[in-house]
Amino acid sequence: ETNKPVEPAQPTAGMQALRSARFLQVRSELVNYPDGFKSPNPALNQSSKSRGRTYDKDFLLQFQEVFKEKPSVDWDMKLKETVGDSTDSARPQSAR
């Protein structure tokens, strides 16, 4: 990869945590989520066949304001190469 940022970017603490964190065993490890946070709907993960990786919308939405780390330090560049940036001339006029 010819990846030359102007200044070498360091991964943030959150990025590093994401990389080093292990997968929770959703079925067998009981987590006490902090006050105000719901655990994944237990009914979804209790069936004997379930591998315990089913999450309802309300559980998933709780992460929205909690975890905001970019996937990698070169994320902005990667997005520009794939999705393009939002200043593209093709961008439709937004009336909001």
């Binding site: 959703v26 902090p34 990786r53 999450y55 990667k78």
Partner: protein, 229 residues
């Protein structure tokens, strides 16, 4: 609902979720599948190669990673800001979001067109459909039907689709999967109803199913929907 006990200290002191500490968590929530996000760039009108327009953006396999990509401040262009003829596709890893992919060629899709683009919040709808997909709410574990979800930005509408592996028939070379035609159809109908619920549609707003090859043979005219939910 569960009783909330504030007094009890955590017995598993070594489990820290992102809710405990977003900078120093040590467990993340696994997804059932690894998902790949793809983007279709609008054609420039200069004879683009489709392969250059369809780009793989990123793959992820945890809830936390998904939100790292989709949190509002992380710069992924919202669907409402995309140019016409753009698509986002969120597919299981290893499946290209194309009819021609060997895993799609016997399949079809549930879809709904939102014709009044100003009346809806396409960003919220697409988010909810993605959450239903990665949270595995669209099918049951043995169904093995959902390939991915897609949003198309077009001049007259937004369309959200859900691609399935089959059109309800059991597939050649997949011995043991043996669903009868009736069971296959019922599985697709169940998935269609869950898709409709994820899109928060009214009872009289119908999602329609069509096979990919029907759509291909129909050319520019719309394929006749085989199922509705």
């Amino acid at each position: 609902t569960e009783p909330s006990t504030t007094t009890e200290k955590k017995s598993e002191g070594d489990i820290r979720t992102v809710f405990d500490d977003p900078e120093n968590f040590n467990v993340k929530h696994p997804l059932m599948n690894t998902w790949t996000l793809w983007f279709t760039k609008p054609p420039s009108g200069k004879g683009d190669n489709w392969n250059e327009l369809l780009k793989e953006v990123i793959s992820f396999d945890s809830v936390e990673e998904f939100w790292g990509i989709y949190s509002r401040q992380n710069n992924i262009t919202p669907t409402s800001d995309l140019a016409l003829k753009s698509d986002y596709h969120l597919f299981k890893r290893g499946v290209r979001p194309e009819w021609e992919d060997s895993q799609n060629k016997h399949g079809g899709k549930w879809a709904f067109q939102f014709k009044d683009k100003k009346a809806i919040n396409i960003d919220a709808l697409w988010l909810h459909v993605m959450l239903a997909a990665i949270g595995e709410n669209l099918e049951d574990e043995d169904d093995n039907e959902v390939m991915g979800v897609v949003v198309n930005v077009r001049r007259g509408f937004y369309r959200i689709g859900l691609w399935t592996r089959t059109v309800g028939k059991s597939l050649p070379g997949e011995a043991g999967k043996g669903r009868t035609a009736e069971q296959g159809k019922e599985t697709l109908m169940k998935i269609g109803r869950r898709f409709k619920a994820a899109l928060q549609l009214k009872e009289n707003e119908m999602v329609e199913f069509s096979g990919h090859t029907d759509a291909a043979h129909a050319g520019s005219t719309r394929a006749k929907a085989k199922l509705t939910a």
